[in-house]
Amino acid sequence: MHISEGFLPLTHCAAWACASAPFLAHAVSKLNASRDKRYLLAASAGYLFTLTALKLPSVAGSSSHPTGVALGTVLAGPAVMPALSLIVLLFQALLTAHGGLTTLGANVFSLGIAGPWTTWLLWRFALRCGLGDKPAIMLATAIGSLATYACTSLQLALAHPDATGGVAAAFARFAAVFAVTQLPVAAVEAVFTVAVLRALVNSGGVRIDGWEAWAQR
């Protein structure tokens, strides 16, 4: 989901940075107001740092990495994720040549906003629909991971529309490449995230809305 330097016009870079800015400002204020949750935030950031460093072999001759945003989204809420994502993306842009500095706003939008909010909304919706805690979080994690890559596909399609099919055709082309690679990775991430959350909840040290019933089963 990392858009590298030079693949977005500067006007698009500025637009995505502007779109991400209010979410980032809100995230920073939430972080300042969540000092009592700093250890959960550290665990969320640690999970994000570790998982985005894992490049996993996938199908169709491709490799990709998990997004790692679901744990923080569930533990601390989606509002803080733009700030955590910014730290990780800045580290990667400066030191691992993944992403870029001018594309930072676009990458924060996909990893820190689109992914976490999709995960959170889907998780809450699934719980409300009566889906069990375990399948709800697995579904939300997997779809949230795919949503991150769908957002990247849209960002690239807006910048590079297909000559004949326009933005929709370009989106389909990019999303098809990401989807094939990311589906197995998202499935693995969903199982792994649920295992980590389950361990935290069952230990009694972490309480998550709607998870008590599952922990007692």
Binding site: M1, H2, I3, S4, E5, G6, F7, P9, R38, Y39, L40, A42, A43, A45, G46, Y47, L48, F49, T50, L51, T52, A53, L54, K55, L56, P57, S58, G61, S62, S63, S64, V88, F91, Q92, A93, L94, L95, T96, A97, H98, G100, L101, T102, Y149, S153, L156, H160, R173, F174, V177, F178, T181, Q182, V196, A199, L200, N202, S203, G204, G205
Partner: protein
Amino acid sequence: MGGMGTTMRNLILLMAFSAALGVAAWSLASATGRVDADERVSAMLPPPSRPALWDPSEHLQALSFGGQAAIGVALLAFAWKGLRRRAS
């Protein structure tokens, strides 16, 4: 608190194991000729319109990937210590 401490210690060990697994997976991905999905999509685009503002060397990139995983494990260790202290 023993349960929480044990859980966090296990999580840190799991993350360290995952990092090691990641290095192995990355090596496997490279050895089997797998192309990063981002690079695959980038290859479908026109060439970059401008050079990278900052282009770290391959050596620094490899070190940084390990460093990133290490930072993740360190953050989890910090969380473990803090949660254990707070609960006690």
